[in-house]
Symmetry: C2
């Protein structure tokens, strides 16, 4: 037998030894946990008995850390009394919807798609949407939370922590921009284009081809209104079809944005709604100051075979050197596994909050 074959056989033997010892060990961990519930943290110490100088000490310490995590996950899953609260909680009698923006903006069309035929309250700033919902002046607030050009909108996440409100609804709106001018104009007359910087960026290829001069405006709907008022054949705007039509503009070209653009909107209320058809949960948390604590947290999700759909960190401005992590994942908050995960994270992490449960 050559050296390779021999070593390979020895490895298989080691694999078996590890497996046997591991399976015996976890059954003992299981047994003890049923005996003494106070002592769970200490009895299964592994990895302390190795010297730094020892060869493979680094590798062994990683193994020990993995086994400690497996112990913990197992014990949480098997021996934690989770609440039997399976009560469905719904928002009833939705009357008033609040959003930040203007008539004929993209936010308005998201609001109307989510909540047709409701009373609408407009505000100037996102925080006013939160304070209106918090103070019972509105039942639901509709807010953009993520944008394919601008990214996550941190301000909304901050406000969700500050105001103790919850995401109950999610709506993805594909953004289709058109270029529009006054009725008497033609595309070849256009020299200047007004719009929001994000809309201009999304149509950059088109703007470059046509050598338009761009002028930033506060909002696509404001740009449409402005162009209608200026009555200048050489000036156009980039906005939604609805805004162009509303302000009596002529659509010169439709769908001029190159790639798929979208904005994700959320609906918030005062209650953490729990519905059977929900399939997404959002969290925010911080982790202990240890290298690898983030992968420890994420391994909880893979332990339960759950897919993250988004993760984002940022410095916590309230406490220097602390980071907050925003995570979205697939699942329903009424399920047993989900309760186990949430219970465990809440117990282990320095800061933890459920931001919402909704249908994606």
């Amino acid at each position: 037998m050559c050296k390779y074959e021999k070593s390979k056989e020895e490895i298989l033997k080691c694999n078996e030894d590890i497996k046997r010892a591991f399976l015996k060990r976890i059954s003992l961990v299981d047994e003890i946990s049923k005996l003494e519930s106070n002592n769970k943290e200490n009895f299964s110490t592994i990895g302390k008995d190795i010297n730094c100088d020892e060869k493979y000490a680094h590798e062994y310490r990683h193994l020990a850390k993995s086994i400690q995590l497996i112990d913990k996950r197992y014990l949480y899953r098997q021996h934690t009394k989770l609440s039997d609260d399976n009560e469905i909680k719904s928002n009833k009698e939705i009357q008033k919807i609040c959003y930040q923006g203007l008539p004929f903006s993209y936010t308005e069309s998201a609001t109307k798609a989510l909540f047709p035929n409701k009373e609408i309250i407009y505000t100037d700033l996102f925080e006013q949407v939160f304070s209106n919902v918090y103070n019972n002046k509105a039942d639901i607030g509709v807010l953009p939370i993520e944008n394919s050009t601008a990214g996550y909108i941190n301000e909304i996440y901050d406000l969700l922590v500050k105001y103790d409100l919850y995401i109950n609804y999610s709506y993805i709106k594909k953004i289709s921009h058109c270029i529009a001018g006054v009725q008497s104009t033609q595309i070849q007359d256009i020299k200047q284009v007004y719009s929001h910087p994000q809309a201009l960026a999304q149509c950059y290829e088109y703007i470059k081809e046509n050598r338009f001069i761009v002028i930033n405006d506060t909002n696509t709907a404001v740009a449409a209104k402005r162009v209608a008022e200026m009555k200048d054949k050489s000036i156009a705007c980039i906005c939604s079809k609805e805004a162009a039509e509303n302000y009596g503009l002529k659509i010169l070209n439709a769908k001029i944005n190159k790639s798929e653009n979208y904005t994700r909107f959320c609906g918030i209320s005062r209650m953490l709604v729990k519905e059977k058809n929900h399939n997404r949960i959002s969290l925010v948390f911080s982790v202990p100051h240890i290298v690898g604590s983030l992968d420890g947290v994420l391994s909880v999700f893979s332990y339960y075979n759950i897919s993250l759909t988004s993760i984002c960190s940022r410095p916590d401005l309230e406490s220097p050197f602390r980071y907050l992590f925003y995570v979205d994942f697939e699942g329903n908050i009424l399920e047993h596994n989900m309760k186990a995960i949430l219970f465990q994270l809440e117990k282990e992490l320095p800061y933890f909050k459920i931001l919402g449960s909704y249908r994606a």
Copy 2:
């Protein structure tokens, strides 16, 4: 001896067995890897020999996965020929700096702090900054990349992928807003306040206390210019001290934003600069479609004891259902460990790109 003491002792015995078998195993893995470099992936198979129905199969599979990862990390670290390229690469002869924005904007002051006394080229859109640098019309582009209110600015990351340019510089600017009006006014005369929506949001508490009506503008510097032109005692703007002074406005209150606000700017060029004093690396990558592949990637960083400073995912608009992850971490690209990490990730991940190396 009571049952608890007995089980505890048996666990310690299992720990020892696992340790012994594991250390033997990794030394064999090491040995074989020196023999046959082509066969590295297959010889150490562990975890395939367990039946789904077996008790603790789920836990054992997690252990096996951890051991596979430890094998892989170990082999990469020990047996990979990494390039000996320790050449320092610097940007020489920086003459022209390009940025998107206006004189007296926050971007201008970041640009001047990073590159004093250089020739400046202004553009209207972020993408024009990239095309100017790419086409040699500017040496460096300065761009905001993250904002404490708005979050990560995806557009910039997209453009870094599209244009094959690299981040070489980083600069964090604390944002201090003031409220300013015409020279003849007093704070009690003010009724309306113009500014960029982000600046208004950052000063929300102050605005609410004073019951101001807010009006969105495209930019804080534009708002200052507009207020100076309107010459109305009841109208103020929220902007930087520099913008207020430049447009001849009177500062009515300084530092009216409640919390620490900042914007992180980056300087980009055509070259992946490598300097000895760099301490931060930025990456973008995608992961295979398997639950837990993200924690697998992150465990590479904890294996090398490296701290992530930021992580952010978002859907890849070019390929549906694929996510891109943006990661920043501590380290210098000239170090051996760093080369090992980058080599390994590039080899393992479906998509991978170094976005930059810089001093944070």
